[in-house]
């Protein structure tokens, strides 16, 4: 059995990059250590090129546990671009903060290996390992500000909740294995499909399905697995927060999508309404939580919880059947998740980028510190405005299309439940604008404090932020650039 090395090319490239980074870190001294950042970026670009090379192909290797298709490649491209952006906003932060740069970049790249693996994995075991590969380095990265109490605390909370979730997920996987005798997703789906057809689905199997979802629920910080998120986001170094909020979450969604839409698709009639309800609760809790925050990072954390709720919504209308309409609904749901994640990545990293730009030198991150940002740094404030409006779903930003895609998925077949979910989305969007507008208002409509320190966002960060803002607006006007790409992703391709 030959291994298709090209199929795992991006992963290999990142693995090599990780090792090179580690080696370079050991051999470089002082300020030269900064160079590991461009080194990692080069490796990422190579991986990106490999993704581009693979684009449009469908490959399967490792005995069917690893699949390359447009769905996976889209995610991989997304992760790699996010990695580039995170590298961009990390450079100065880590270089000036005198953290463990080499190790940080090594851990970062390693975590991304896990992410790249996630959308390709077609086996519970591989999914588990991929998930852990994302998590374990993340546990460490969160605690990288070693002398900082908050950082340690954040790491501890993240770790404990993460491990607990993984344990629950493993328990579920073990039961799934017990029922199906397999860990390959297709095999699991087949076995479950048989059970569904024979109408011999044990409640335990349903419980197991739910438990498997838990692990991803942790990654995507869905309620009630979201508790770590605000605390961890607040305590972690900001680039790590950005990574957690975006990449790690996207990876979680990739995994969740695969598991739900492939392995457990025959049971969709059971898990869809529950996930829909969880989605509604998640976005509500996230938005209500965000309303109260005075710390921008925590606000963004709760906001990202809410966003997770939005992304979860399409899962709520998933169908267990295989009729034409069912496939259409599932495909739309699937695509909308993907589209939203792309949009979400762009706007959220941007927002964190601005937050880093404001607080890296000053340490200021209270929302109140953003007063008059428009006067102090119009570009940062302008970009932040764009990102926040986009997060809220304002027109001419990519955020609108993301929400649009979700709504589209909910209404492909007009059902009462779908409309309820849509209604929840509407109401939550409005609540969300409350706190987004609060920040925007502060930035533009309040005079800056007299002693507000000067801002030096730095070149890399500025480029990243400006680029993301431009992309946000560009995709806002021409969403076709993404929607046309994701439309290639069909449900059949996932199957």
């Amino acid at each position: 059995m030959a291994i298709d090395f090209l199929a795992v090319g991006p992963e290999i490239a990142l693995a090599v990059t990780a090792l090179v980074v580690l080696a370079a870190d050991l051999s470089l001294r002082g300020d030269a250590k900064q160079l590991v950042n461009p080194l990692a970026a080069v490796g990422t670009l190579v991986a990106l090129l490999l993704v581009a090379r693979l684009w449009g192909e469908e490959r399967t290797t490792f005995g069917g546990t690893f699949v390359v298709d447009t769905f996976a490649l889209t995610f991989k491209a997304l992760f790699l671009v996010v990695l580039l952006a995170v590298l961009g906003i990390s450079w100065r932060f880590f270089a000036e903060g005198r953290y463990f740069q080499g190790e940080y970049y090594f851990l970062l790249v390693t975590a991304f290996i896990g992410m790249l693996l996630m959308p390709s994995a077609r086996d519970l075991l591989v999914l588990f390992v991929a998930l852990e590969t994302v998590s374990v380095p993340a546990f460490v990265m969160v605690g990288l500000r070693k002398r900082d109490l908050y950082s340690s605390e954040a790491a501890l909370k993240f770790f404990l909740i993460g491990v607990l979730s993984v344990a629950l997920m493993l328990l579920g996987m073990s039961f799934v294995y017990g029922f199906t005798g397999a860990t390959g997703l297709d095999a699991v789906a087949g076995a479950i499909g048989g059970l569904v057809a024979a109408d011999t689905v044990e409640p335990l199997l349903l419980a197991a399905v739910l438990l498997v979802v838990v692990g991803f629920g942790f990654k995507i910080s869905a309620v009630p697995f979201h508790f770590w998120a605000p605390d961890t986001y607040a305590g972690a170094p900001m680039p790590v927060t950005a990574m957690l909020a975006v990449a790690s979450k996207a990876a979680g969604f990739a995994g969740l999508a695969i598991v739900s839409f492939i392995a457990f698709q025959p049971l969709a009639g059971v898990w869809a309404p529950i996930l829909g309800a969880v989605a509604v609760i998640t976005m509500t809790v996230g938005n209500l939580g965000a309303l109260q925050q005075r710390d921008l990072i925590r606000l963004l954390a709760f906001s990202s919880v809410a966003q997770a709720g939005y992304i979860l919504l399409p899962f709520g209308v998933a169908r267990g059947g295989t009729g034409a309409l069912d496939v259409a609904v599932n495909t739309a749901a699937f695509r909308s998740v993907l589209l939203y994640l792309v949009a979400y990545a762009v706007m959220n990293i941007g927002a964190f980028g601005v937050a880093i730009g404001v607080s890296r030198r000053t340490g200021l991150r209270a929302i109140g510190d953003y007063a008059g940002l428009g006067a102090r740094s119009p570009l940062l404030a302008g970009a932040m405005t764009v990102f926040l409006l986009s997060l809220g779903g304002a027109p001419l930003t990519v955020g609108l299309w993301a929400k649009f895609a979700i709504l589209e998925a909910l209404t492909v077949d007009v059902t009462t439940f779908g409309l309820v979910l849509a209604g929840a989305l509407v109401i939550n969007s409005v609540i969300a604008f409350f706190y987004y507008l609060k920040v925007i208002r502060l930035m533009w409509m309040v005079e800056p404090a007299a002693d507000a320190p000067a801002l030096q966002p730095g070149f890399n960060l500025s480029v990243v932020v400006a680029g993301l803002a431009a992309v946000t607006l560009l995709l806002g006007v021409l969403p076709g650039l993404v929607t046309d790409t994701t439309s290639v992703v069909t449900f059949a391709a996932v199957r």
Binding site: G63, G97, E103, P137, Y150, Q292, K438
Partner: protein, 202 residues
């Protein structure tokens, strides 16, 4: 009830008792030792289930390494001893949650597998395991190696003594948390409506 059942029952009882003592023991060292017993008991379970290789791995990795690691951990953190010191006030919550979980899952398990009995217990042989590992599971295996490396590096980074690579603490920009949890008003960001209402009062 076969001999296997009896053997399992004995081992299981020991394991369970040790496990419970692990989380209830008031003495740190005792707890760690009970953990070792539990892990060894699990190795015994594996043996009864005729998973010899796993039993061995269990003994070597867990009883030999992990339990010792925990012991070191306990020593290094100089934790105090005693129920109040070892248990938080969440005991009630913990008991409720875990008991419910146990009852729920047990019920479901019995409902699902209550009538499954197997006469011959025979798992894959060790050679098959090796073959499968490098035939079917080589991808996760390789990734696991990266994971272990990352864990190693991470653990070293975190537990290394120096502060930052230059050893200078003061260069670290402190985080100014906006939310002071001890401030009762924290987070009560005035809503616009609130402002409006105040105007009326004035």
């Amino acid at each position: 009830m076969t001999g296997l059942d009896v053997a399992f029952l004995v081992v299981a009882l020991i394991t369970a008792a040790a496990a419970i003592r692990t989380v209830t023991s008031t003495n740190l060292v005792h707890a760690a030792l009970f953990l070792a017993v539990t892990l060894a008991g699990i190795a015994g379970v594996f043996l009864v289930l005729s998973a010899d290789f796993l039993a061995l791995v269990q003994l070597v990795v867990y009883v030999g390494a992990v339990a010792v690691l925990f012991l070191f951990g306990l020593m290094l953190t100089r934790a105090p001893i005693g129920r109040e010191a070892l248990d938080s006030e969440h005991r009630g919550l913990a008991l409720g949650v875990s008991a419910t979980l146990f009852v729920l899952l047990s019920g479901l398990i019995i409902a699902a597998f209550g009538d499954v009995r197997v006469d011959v217990v025979d798992g894959p042989r060790t050679a098959d395991l090796g073959l499968a590992l490098f035939r079917d599971w080589v991808l996760p295996f390789e990734v696991l190696s990266m994971l272990l490396l990352a864990a190693l590096v991470g653990a070293i980074v975190l537990s290394r003594r120096e502060d930052g690579e230059s050893g200078q603490v003061e260069d670290v920009t402190p985080i100014l948390l906006a939310d002071d949890p001890d401030d009762p008003d924290a987070g009560d960001v005035a809503l616009p409506a609130g402002e409006g209402a105040e105007e009326v009062d004035a």
